[in-house]
């Protein structure tokens, strides 16, 4: 022991020194990045991690409660709602609201809330809670460093296969990641998602589930999607026990719905927190005053929440099924944190959604609706919602940078005609020629085409054309991939012509 003792002690001292240096360097980086006007997200964490590899464990170990939100769609919205539930309880949650959801982004968020000794600052009640959205493949890097954690899994759709691989592979990675979770960890997941139900069955973790109270009214019956329809929005999902394809009594979004293995290995269970499916409602709730061009809005109707944790009425961030699922997920997260369904519903009553996910703006006297598209399911949901909005013009932006996904073939898997038929269409982005082909080869558009199709080489030009094609008081839908949406949004902001419309 004596021989090993000294190097051991030496290593520990060196580690402490390295720790302080690492925090210092990272804190400084955070400061510089902050001063430079960038919201700089992952960089401080990156600097800290080089010098202080244990930063995540040391900082996160001081948290009283940690909530991780994982999933394909709805991560940012759900995490924002949960953070609001925590806020309403008098705590100040640490969050990565800017969406930096890789390991380094989370370390950065923690570093910003720590002092030079690597101690997390306490809130007024002397406690800290954290709500982080976590990238699909970052979960396995983060979870082993955390104590008891609430993991909220929203859904798992086929998404950016070029980065994540097949959905089955993501479930395998999550299964092994969850095996490293500390005792006392709870898994909160969507009961309508068979992939998550099979994930939950493969873990030893206690669970809380959320989902729809019953089949949605505004979707085609099961027989029209999947095996006989022409689109491929819903992935085929096989039972992990017997390999047979799951059967559905009803579907909601993509492969979510009332599923069952034909041999009985797995089936949907009634959710612990059940939200009534929303009644379809369009843009009628938002109006432009024709004389002042001032936008007004009546908020989304509240949805009825039921289940074994009690009843409440909760207001979603948007009118569609995605809004309903996000609210149910957030309330389930709140329950895991000790907040009742009623308290949670009150807390999120006035929540503002994150940018770009069905965000409403007023630009030059026109209604502008922003919808972020990134995969087949989000495109299908945007098309579904967009077809109910009163709009004259549709701007579609398709980029293929790594943040967008380099493979753009998903645009062929969702129906697109309901969004663009009879409207003026403006196409832009690095892959706008693919969008053009997508519209040209659409069978439904052959009989009911768009009014006209314009190609714009730059985002700024696309925005100008789209606004010019939209009459004053009219509506413009912008559906764009991540980098195209960021670009379009910053152009709108720079021109100072946009004002947000309340939800």
């Amino acid at each position: 022991m004596g021989m090993l003792g000294r190097p051991d002690r030496f290593a520990r001292t060196a580690g402490l020194v390295r720790g302080s240096v690492g925090i210092g360097a990272a804190r400084m980086t955070a400061g510089v990045v902050g001063l430079s006007g960038h919201r700089g997200t992952a960089l401080p964490g990156l600097v800290g991690a080089r010098i202080w590899p244990d930063a995540l464990g040391s900082l996160a170990g001081q948290l009283d409660a940690t909530v991780l939100v994982i999933g394909t769609n709805g991560k940012t919205s759900t995490a924002a709602l949960i953070a609001d539930i925590v806020l309403a309880s008098g705590r100040e949650p640490i969050a990565n609201r800017s969406g930096a959801n890789m390991r380094q982004g989370i370390v950065s968020s923690l570093l910003r809330e720590s002092d030079l000794h690597g101690r997390l600052r306490r809130d007024r009640q002397g406690r800290r809670q954290a709500v982080f959205e976590v990238d699909e493949i970052a979960l396995e890097q983060i979870l082993p460093h955390l104590g008891p954690t609430m993991i909220v899994a929203t859904n798992l759709f086929r998404d950016q296969v070029d980065r994540y691989g097949e959905a089955d592979g993501v479930i395998d990675r999550w299964t092994s990641a969850l095996a490293t979770a500390a005792d006392g960890t709870t898994l909160i997941y969507c009961a309508d998602d068979p992939r998550l139900a099979m994930l939950a069955a493969a873990t030893r973790l206690p669970t809380i589930t959320f989902g729809l109270a019953g089949p949605p009214m505004d979707r085609p019956p099961q027989s029209q999607t999947g095996s006989t329809g022409t689109d491929a929005v819903a992935d085929p999902v096989a039972c992990r026990a017997c390999g047979r394809q799951l059967e559905y009594a009803w579907r909601s979004i993509g492969h979510l719905g009332g599923f069952a293995c034909p041999e009985g290995h797995v089936s949907r269970s009634q959710p612990d927190i059940a939200v009534d499916p929303p009644v379809a409602s369009g843009s009628s709730r938002r109006n432009l005053d024709p004389s002042t061009h001032q936008a007004t809005a009546s908020p989304s109707p509240r949805l009825r929440i039921g289940g074994r944790f009690g009843d409440a009425l909760a207001r979603p961030l948007d009118d569609g099924l995605t809004g309903a699922y996000n609210v149910a997920a957030a309330l389930a997260g709140g329950v895991a944190l000790g907040r009742s369904v009623l308290e949670g519903s009150e807390a999120i009553e006035k929540s503002a959604g994150p940018f770009g996910r069905f965000e409403w703006l007023e630009v030059d006297g026109r209604h502008v609706i922003l919808a972020l598209i990134k995969n087949t399911v989000s495109l299908a949901e945007s098309v579904h919602a967009g077809s109910t909005w009163s709009a004259d013009t549709v701007l579609l932006g398709l980029n293929d940078a790594p943040a967008d996904g380099r493979d753009v073939s998903w645009i062929w898997d969702a129906p697109i005609a309901p969004l663009v038929a009879g409207r003026t269409v403006v196409l832009t982005g690095s892959r706008s020629t693919d969008l053009g082909l997508r519209l040209q080869y659409d069978a439904d558009l052959a009989t009911s085409p768009p009014c006209s199709i314009h190609h714009a080489t730059t985002l700024a030009e696309a925005l100008d054309v789209a606004l010019a094609q939209t009459p004053t008081g009219g509506g413009l839908v912008i559906a764009a991939t991540y980098t195209a949406m960021m670009g379009l949004r910053s152009i709108v902001e720079r021109r100072g012509r946009a004002s947000p419309v309340p939800r």
């Binding site: 992952a42 990156l46 991690a49 890789m102 390991r103 380094q104 990238d135 493949i137 970052a138 086929r158 296969v161 070029d162 980065r163 691989g165 097949e166 959905a167 089955d168 999947g226 095996s227 006989t228 022409t230 689109d231 491929a232 085929p236 096989a238 992990r240 390999g243 047979r244 394809q245 790594p402 380099r406 493979d407 753009v408 073939s409 998903w410 645009i411 062929w412 898997d413 690095s430 892959r431 020629t433 693919d434 053009g436 082909l437 997508r438 040209q440 080869y441 659409d442 069978a443």
Partner: protein, 298 residues
Amino acid sequence: MGPARRLRIVHLFPDVLRFYGDGGNIRSLVTRAEARGFETTVTRVNVGASMIPTADLFFIGGGQDREQVTAAREIERLGPSLRDQLTDGAALLAICGGYQNLGIAYRTAFGTELACPGLLPVRTDANGVGRRLVGNVLARLEPALVAVGASVAGAAPGAGESNLGRTVVGFENHGGRTVLEPGARALATIEIGHGNNGRDATEGVLLLPGDAGMGGLRIGTYLHGPLLPRNPHVADALVAAAIARGGPLTRLAPLDDRRELEAHRVGVDRMRRMAREDGRIPEWAHRMLDPVKALIGY
């Protein structure tokens, strides 16, 4: 009497094999055949079907391993009918998972050897092969297929000004490594991307009518994107071969392909520019950047 003015397409197992836009291939075939006045039907054959209907052109797409296991069982059950029809002159387009499934042998990532009908002269191994082969692909088409394309193509507007009929563009995303049987012809030779296995610069497999006593044109490939809308010359070769059913090819009336060729050209130009930019970054810089890229998920 000339051949019937119709094209019967059968889409094999779309309930389990449908991945990343492969339905766009069907749309391309239907649109381009109908534009030439051919009455076109698409029949979807799902898992559990009692038989495979008569077709001029079979399409099979990609899927995940679990779905490929299901497809393999169905192909084994219904395979004899498919084999007879292909020998008789029907054409075949098999993408990604379907390409692997219809070869001589396929071992999944789980290590399971799937039953394979040997309709395409390739063997695929996805077990313990390392990272997935993912990215944009630019490849030079096999000259024999370029000749087929040239022999059926009319003087389409925009086609004469370039060599676009000689290249194929798409996006690949596969774990399996595929090797051609000795003497088999690749569909294309890789310029940018990985292709069948990332080693021998081959992409896909091509059987021409008459090859080894076979009837119709058969194409197996890893390229989706989807393949055919941006590669109209490949779509037309399939349409013409399917209609000819192994007999002499007839010319197809020209279509206005300016948008298709523009999308093809955008793909080619972007890939070549990115490859040049990558080439300007020295290897040591790549080695330094790679861990950073891995950390931020680039």
